[in-house]
Symmetry: C2
């Protein structure tokens, strides 16, 4: 196999590498803190739940998977103590998924870790450049013609 020439990477590969290395570091650190059963998709779900809970259907639309798959994920996360199913206040068919105390702990830990990582980047390229970077990425994901953000790709965590 040919060696990868890093200085010649296209933008897509660079985005992939930087994103993946961030997510890997995040989950390594979470693992060290005892949250070793949390996968990226779980954090993605937490983002949908925060701050006031969400129904299974809402989560499934957010994650882009079926409601049955969400139900299985919630089974797992409920068993491991991160979320709870609550009865829906107005709709007796529905349930609301909310974070438990442990769920909030992992969310706080995630924020701390990501802040650290972003801080390391600021130390390396300067915080102004990080702001420019964020602004540029924001412009890039904004679909010029359609005037809205791309719908098929969603942030994890």
């Amino acid at each position: 196999m040919n060696d990868q020439v890093f200085s010649d990477l296209d933008l897509t590969s660079l985005l992939s590498l930087s994103y993946n290395s961030t997510i890997n570091e995040l989950h390594e650190k979470l693992s060290e803190l005892g949250f070793d059963d949390i996968r990226p998709a779980h954090g993605f779900m937490f983002k949908c739940i925060i701050p006031n809970g969400a129904t299974g259907i809402e989560i499934s639309e957010y994650l882009g998977i079926t409601k049955q798959a969400v139900s299985k994920m919630v089974d797992f996360l409920e068993k491991s103590g991160y979320v709870m199913r609550q009865t829906h206040p107005t709709d007796k068919r529905g349930k609301i998924i909310v974070l438990t105390e442990r769920g909030w702990l992992v969310v706080k830990a995630k924020e701390k870790i990501l802040t650290e990582i972003e801080g390391r980047w600021s130390a390396k390229i300067g915080s102004e450049r990080v702001q420019v970077l964020k602004g540029d990425l924001l412009k890039i994901i904004f679909k010029e013609n359609e005037g809205e953000y791309s719908s098929f790709s969603r942030p994890i965590w």
Copy 2:
């Protein structure tokens, strides 16, 4: 569920969104060109194969999956005409996976599409800024302390 405030996204989410939207667009366009059976992992494998072929073990290390999983992928890609297994020139145990003509076609198409996308970005934020962006991302994925690029995250395509 709370609405996503796009202007307040952290860097990780921005990287995820921009990466995913790029990959989605790439595969949509490939699909239109008739390469609808190609998944991102396949393109990743092509990158390892180019330009002189690779053994199954090499590919498995590159992709970070088992050699058995690679073998199945190669079965699929061979059946659909993108790669071939060749006998290894010196090691009678081994085989070399190489691209077929159709395999090269999809690689060329991918390059064209990614160039278009990067060009669109240049048109939007300016090509100098795209260069800065690339340089910054490169610095970010370079692990300062260890003096080497992060090993667990690899580019797709």
